[in-house]
Subunit: 169 residues, 2 copies
Amino acid sequence: MKVILYMAMTVNGMIARENDDTPWSNVEWKNYAKKVKECGALIVGRRTYEIMKKGDDLKKIGNPFTVVVTSQKIESNKSFVFAKSPKDAFEIMKKRKFRKVLLGGGSMINASFMKAGLVDEIYLDVEPFVFGKGIKLFSDEGFEAKLKLIGTKKLSKNEIQLHYKVIRR
Amino acid sequence: MKVILYMAMTVNGMIARENDDTPWSNVEWKNYAKKVKECGALIVGRRTYEIMKKGDDLKKIGNPFTVVVTSQKIESNKSFVFAKSPKDAFEIMKKRKFRKVLLGGGSMINASFMKAGLVDEIYLDVEPFVFGKGIKLFSDEGFEAKLKLIGTKKLSKNEIQLHYKVIRR
């Protein structure tokens, strides 16, 4: 099973403003939805989950089977369950026989998946912004990874997508 | 006069490891040197200046006229002077009639130039690494900018250069 991190971010690696705002284009949302549908399964952290629920975003992206990684118990139902750790989330998805799973933020869950060596590929949609302050792609964690550039794709006039494979070490 | 920010960074916007290490390729150094020579003038912060001096890097990039922005007095000579602020550095360069000046890090000086609205273009050489912790492209400062993507260039198998214009607001 492949875990694919997919995020939109500023050129300096911020996935949102400090207040969670993401001034990305509609093109960006469509791409994200498409990628989620392609995988059929989504892993997010609690905060990202709550932001998505508020904005009715899970419906917009086709109500994928979702695992929310959190230490707090959240009511599960048919379309989402919660997991205590990246490894737990990984095992849940594996049991359900998903071939690809999309890891969709935020900062803490992205970093803990990387630290656990559970990310296979990374898609980054680079948005034409710089935020001096904001929420980073990865929260501060002691890990490092080498990447292999698989490809790049122009998404719109000012947006470019970078696609990497994570080299395990 | 144009101020051009040119930096190599990881995909998540880190310009160095926490200990200032930059495991970039030789291709990267050659590109940096080429861009500095093209401009003929360099602005850096004190820490970057000291790192460059230690590694004999200024010689490697052709001893460009250099302004070091710092609150501490550094001995000036014919090829470098010091400035107290981004604006001071800008004025010094303008008086010397440079048409293009390269802003070359680090984190604090990059952010203060952006905050002062003094950056015209940004070149980012995206290196195939992720650092969980490290030195950010911009230190935490309250600014935001919109960019226009001018172009992209493949530098090597795993390195891509992004070139942006900063939109003044």
